[in-house]
Structure formats: structure tokens, C-alpha cells
Amino acid sequence: MAIASMTLSELPTGETATIAALTGQPDIRTRMQSIGLRVGREVAVIRRSRFGGPLQVRIGTTDLLIRPQQAMQVVLA
């Protein structure tokens, strides 16, 4: 594992990375998993909304909205 692991909230717009782990509350982790944020999948940041609003991310054929707080729980490889 990298020394300073990056989270999804820090992934620059337009770039793709692989999900290494999900942290945080188990119920929210379950939500994330079942909506498609699973370990080992590739995730790309499509765009960010202004004023610290949600990110639009793409996993396979699914596009998702995720707030920065939750994106911080998605650890990237």
C-alpha cells in the first residue's frame, strides 16, 4: 500500500483510479458497495459541483453523485 493513500475526494477531475478500501460506518459502507463502489473497481471523477458540492463519479456504466465527506471514505490504491 502507498505511504500516503489518496481518497476519492482528492482524485483530480477527469482521472481514474482503483478502489482499495471503504472506511466509515458499516451501514454507509453497505450503501456504497451496493450502489457500485466496490473494492477493486475503477472509479473516475467526471466533474465537481461548485462551492464544495457533490462529485459526479463513474464506475463502469454507472454514474453516481457523492458528497466530498463520503468520497473521503473511499480509499484509492
Binding site: 451501514d27 454507472t62 453516481l64 463520503q70
Partner: protein, 595 residues
């Protein structure tokens, strides 16, 4: 009768399939252990009638959301003969997970891969035979929206139901902790069955999003879209509303009045002035509600709701709400009732209730009618639009203030993980069915409540019967006397207080009530009111009308949707208090400043 449970993730076209299979015969029913309304319908499959139940869209059988609990409880409490599982063909990489979980329940199952037209367009290939073999259940590729493959679905249901299988409740605890093994299995099944090209994204959606979610133009375009929708609803709705009112008036004068003319005057007045006029006022709003739901259906099914959430979420999250709440609030500017029903898309109860708290502050068309009357009667032509605009601002202020105050009590545990589906356009049939069903539901739920309110107002204004209706001698007049200490500090006199009491039923009746109270036609009312009230009193009155309970229909829907008397009481009581405080501050402040 055999029972089929229809189950799938959100955005799979589940409701569309349900409508296709059942026509428009679906009813809302109560089920053991389940507190929300579930649609169900009895249909003829093969030679026998079966019942199909539309379970809420869920992501995970073991999830923690309200919908997921509902689906789980339903399956545990109600024996099911067959699970009809529907998945979106373009998202099988994650949607097969739910099918795999359900497979573990070991109930007879039929798996439908919907939206095969979209999958085909994106170049996604699914080997249904391989999948059917692997899961040991029938797998069919369909398009519910275009009605493709439905004959095969019915046949598969008949075939599967005819195989003898012990009917039983689903035992869910058995499969609760096996999710990790499921992950590996999901990958294996997905790789075996599905072939996805490297770039399987909808180019049309990408291009449209580049404009609609543009960092600078996104928000203005969003407001423009909402404005267009309002315009459309009212341009189309107002003539329809007039039409309904005209028909009701004709029925009244041609049929009802001659019919009851010989009856006792009290009974006559009760039926005509009480029930017929009261219920008629509510009925005349049905066209607007139908139209709203048609447009709601377009917005919801098109995928734009998630985009609006993307645009407004940064601001709304600071109020303990999310982007969807803002959309509902805007819908409320047309009519609060459908906007309140629209909050059903929210998964978190706290978030939903908080949104339901703020929607009634939206300045709806009925209130607008009162304000337009007052602003033109009292204010100079140059000031009237500004006054109206200030009331719109107050509407947002009251809503956001309320959200700030209650956000800690009605907390949002929904982490806004929203899917951004590709843009889609619902078929006319889908839209129509939706509007019709919502209205039927509204009438069933609210009619008793509305009738009760109408009877109450009639009784208040017509007792004793020999007094002039709504005069100081009637119960309503005495009630106004009783409230005088409360309303006098707001500059609202007794006669206007009676109008406010009527306004509790519906703002539509405020002007009519004032005409009765002042004993003039609606045409002469402007001169009389203009002569008796100064602008400070009028504005104080309008502030109160803006903020207190919008109408009985809204209260009925607040109760229907929250299923809690306590919440309903809060959602009625708090705006009353806020209305009083704001009107008081305004009136006393303005007087103190010498106006």
C-alpha cells in the same frame, strides 16, 4: 391466490414493468409488518388470478434504509410464491448482486434483464442462456418501456408458478452474513454472462450534461427549466380549472339547486353552501394536481432530478437538507400537495420530514391569488410587483429559517449517494398513468378530511341559522371575537380574522369568504378593503396568510405521508407560531417607525 413479489434496484424500470403487467388496476394496500403503502394488483396469468406486489426499489437485501427494511419485512411476514426480479441490463456489474442475494432465499424466481434497448445501443451483450443455467432460474431480456418480451414474461411466470413448491416465508437471517462470498460470485457470474465494450457511456447524456451541469450556466438553466414548468402547468391548468369550476357551477344550478329547492332551508344551505361549494373548490384543483404529476413524472423519469440535486446540494446541505429538497420546494410554488407527495423519493425519514416541514412555506398559486388581490387593491401600481416579490423572498426566508431550526432534530442520515441515470424520456402512457394514479390516491386519502373541514366551516358560519352568514352573531363571528386579543396586535381586525379561519381550509376561499363577510360581490371588494385597511395592516395580513397552514389538503397530505399525528401537529403548529411572530414584528415595528 398465488402471490408474486416484484423486486429490483431503483432505476431498473420496475414501476414501468409493474404498470405493463397490471394495467391501471393497481391499488395501494396495507401489509403485515409494513408501514408504507405498497402497490399491488390482481391479474389473470394463464388460467388463474395471481396477485403482484410492487416492493420498493432496494439496492441490497441486507441494507439499512427504510425501503430496504420494508422489503425485508414484507418477505419475512408475507408468504410469496415467486420472486420476479428485475435488473437494468446496462448495470449488471452491480445489479446482479441483488439477484444473487435473492437467489439465496431459495424461492422460485424469474430474472428479467430490462432496458435491453439501452444495452443494445451501448453495445453491451448478455448471454441470458448462460446466466439462466448458472443461476438455475429463467432469465429473460426485455424492454418494459417499449413492451418488448412481456408475452414471454407472462409465460415464464405461468410455467414457474405451475411447478409445485412449498409456499413459505423467506428466512433472511440465514443469508445475512454471506455478503463477502457473494462478491466473488458476482464477479464470476458477471464475467461469464456480460460483455461490455470499453467505452459504454451514453454520449447523448454526456453532451447534455456538459451544458446542463456547466459550472456557470448549470444553475441559471435549472431555474429557467423550473420557471418553464410552472408556466406550462398554469397555462395549461388554469383553463382546465376554470372548466371544472364551470361544470360544477352548471351542475349546481341546473341539477342540484332545483333538486333540493323544496327541502328545508338548513339542509338546503348545508348541501349547497357547505358541501357542494366546499368540495367543489377542492375538486377544481384536480387538473393542476394531475398536470403537476405529469411534469413530475417527466422530471423524475428523465433523470433531471439527480442533476438538480447536483447543482443545489452545496447550499442545501448547509441547511441539513439535500439538493432534492430544493426541487420539491420549487414544486411547492405551484401546489404544496404534489410537492409533499414527491418527497417519497427520499430514503431518510429525517430528511423527508424536514423537507415536508419547509414545503408548506412555498407561496402556492392559491396564496398568490390572495396576494395579487391585496397588492393591487392597496398598493400603488409601481409598488405592487415589489411587494409581491418581497413575499416570494419571505417564503424562502421562512423555509430556510425553519430548516436551520429543525435540522438538528430531523437529522438527515442519508449520505446522498444518488445515481445519475442517463437522460430518458417517459412515454405518454407512463406519464398519464402516473398522474391518474396519484390523483385517485389523493382523493381516497384526503376526501374524508376535506369533507369534515368543509362541514365544520359551514357549521361555524351558519349557526345560528337566522343570523347573516359569517356575521359577528354566528359562531365564526364569536370565534373571531375570541381570537381578537391574538390578532389585534397584528393589525388584523375581526372580519379579516374570519377570513383567516376560512383560509385554514383553503386559500382559494379567502376572497370568497371576505365577499360574504363584507356582504358585497367579489368585484366591489377591492374598493371596500382598500378603504378600510392601510398598507401596514394589509402586509401584516399577507405575511400571516403566506406562512400559516396553507390548506386542509396540505394538512391531510402531511398526515398521509408522515403517518404521524405528532409530526402533523408540529408542521401545523410551528408555521402558526412563526406567522404570528413575523406579522407581529412587522406590524409593531412599522407602527413604531411611524407608518
Amino acid at each position: 391466490m398465488k402471490r408474486i413479489a416484484l423486486i429490483g434496484m431503483p432505476n431498473t424500470g420496475k414501476s414501468t414493468l409493474f404498470n405493463r403487467l397490471t394495467g391501471s388496476s393497481a391499488r395501494v394496500g396495507n401489509w403485515p409488518g409494513v408501514t408504507v403503502d405498497l402497490l399491488s394488483s390482481k391479474v389473470l396469468l394463464g388460467a388463474e388470478m395471481v396477485e403482484i406486489i410492487d416492493l420498493p426499489g432496494i439496492y441490497n437485501l441486507h441494507g439499512f434504509s427504510e425501503d430496504e427494511r420494508v422489503a425485508r419485512t414484507f418477505l419475512e411476514e408475507n408468504p410469496v410464491d415467486l420472486l420476479l426480479v428485475i435488473a437494468n441490463s446496462t448495470q449488471l456489474d452491480r445489479q446482479l448482486a441483488l439477484a444473487l442475494q435473492l437467489r439465496e432465499l431459495d424461492l422460485p424466481m424469474v430474472l428479467l434483464l430490462n432496458m435491453n434497448d439501452e444495452a443494445h445501443r451501448l453495445g453491451i451483450k448478455v448471454d441470458t442462456d448462460w446466466l439462466a443455467n448458472e443461476l438455475a432460474v429463467p432469465v429473460l431480456s426485455i424492454s418494459a418501456k417499449h413492451g418488448m418480451g412481456l408475452g414471454r414474461v407472462r409465460q415464464a411466470l405461468v410455467d414457474t408458478l405451475s411447478i409445485d413448491h412449498p409456499v413459505r416465508h423467506a428466512r433472511l437471517e440465514k443469508v445475512f452474513h454471506e455478503d463477502d462470498a457473494m462478491e466473488a460470485r458476482l464477479d464470476q457470474v458477471f464475467r461469464g454472462a456480460v460483455e461490455v465494450p470499453l467505452t459504454a457511456t451514453d454520449r447523448f447524456t454526456d453532451r447534455l450534461d456538459r451544458v446542463l451541469l456547466h459550472p456557470w450556466f448549470g444553475l441559471p438553466l435549472f431555474f429557467l427549466a423550473m420557471l418553464t414548468m410552472f408556466e406550462a402547468v398554469y397555462t395549461l391548468g388554469a383553463p382546465l380549472q376554470d372548466g371544472v369550476a364551470w361544470i360544477l357551477e352548471a351542475v349546481k344550478t341546473e341539477m342540484v339547486e332545483p333538486g333540493v329547492a323544496q327541502w328545508h332551508p338548513i339542509l338546503n344551505s348545508f348541501l349547497l353552501d357547505g358541501i357542494f361549494d366546499g368540495v367543489g373548490t377542492v375538486l377544481s384543483f384536480l387538473p393542476i394536481i394531475v398536470l403537476f404529476f405529469l411534469f413530475m413524472a417527466i422530471i423524475e423519469d428523465s433523470g433531471y432530478l439527480s442533476r438538480a440535486a447536483f447543482l443545489m446540494d452545496a447550499f442545501m446541505s448547509r441547511l441539513g437538507l439535500d439538493g432534492r429538497a430544493f426541487v420539491m420546494q420549487l414544486m411547492g410554488f405551484g401546489c404544496n400537495v404534489p410537492a409533499l407527495m414527491g418527497t417519497r423519493v427520499m430514503r431518510s425519514r429525517g430528511l423527508r420530514l424536514l423537507t415536508m416541514m419547509i414545503i408548506p412555506f412555498s407561496l402556492c398559486s392559491a396564496r398568490l391569488q390572495v396576494f395579487v388581490f391585496f397588492t393591487t387593491a392597496i398598493f400603488e401600481p409601481w409598488a405592487a410587483p415589489l411587494v409581491l416579490f418581497s413575499l416570494y423572498l419571505m417564503s424562502f426566508v421562512a423555509a430556510f429559517l425553519t430548516a436551520l431550526i429543525y435540522r438538528t432534530r430531523l437529522t438527515n442520515e442519508d449520505p446522498l449517494l444518488l445515481e445519475l441515470p442517463p437522460y430518458r424520456f417517459p412515454t405518454l402512457k407512463q406519464m398519464w398513468l402516473r398522474g391518474w394514479r396519484e390523483v385517485a390516491h389523493f382523493l381516497r386519502q384526503a376526501s374524508g378530511f376535506i369533507l369534515l373541514g368543509v362541514i365544520l366551516v359551514w357549521a361555524l358560519t351558519h349557526t345560528p341559522f337566522d343570523a347573516v352568514p359569517a356575521s359577528p352573531e354566528t359562531l365564526a363571528g364569536r370565534l373571531a371575537d375570541l381570537f381578537a386579543p391574538l390578532f389585534a396586535p397584528l393589525g388584523i381586525d375581526n372580519l379579516m380574522t374570519i377570513a383567516l379561519l376560512f383560509g385554514f381550509v383553503a386559500k382559494e376561499v379567502v376572497l370568497g369568504a371576505m365577499a360574504v363577510i363584507y356582504g358585497v360581490g367579489e368585484g366591489e371588494l377591492a374598493g371596500i378593503v382598500g378603504g378600510q385597511t392601510d398598507w401596514v395592516q394589509a402586509y401584516s395580513f399577507m405575511l400571516f396568510v403566506l406562512i400559516y397552514t396553507p390548506c386542509l389538503s396540505t394538512v391531510a397530505v402531511l398526515k398521509q405521508e408522515s403517518k404521524s399525528w405528532r409530526f402533523t401537529a408540529l408542521a401545523v403548529g410551528w408555521p402558526l407560531l412563526l406567522a404570528w411572530v413575523l406579522s407581529f414584528s412587522f406590524y409593531q415595528g412599522a407602527r413604531w417607525l411611524g407608518f
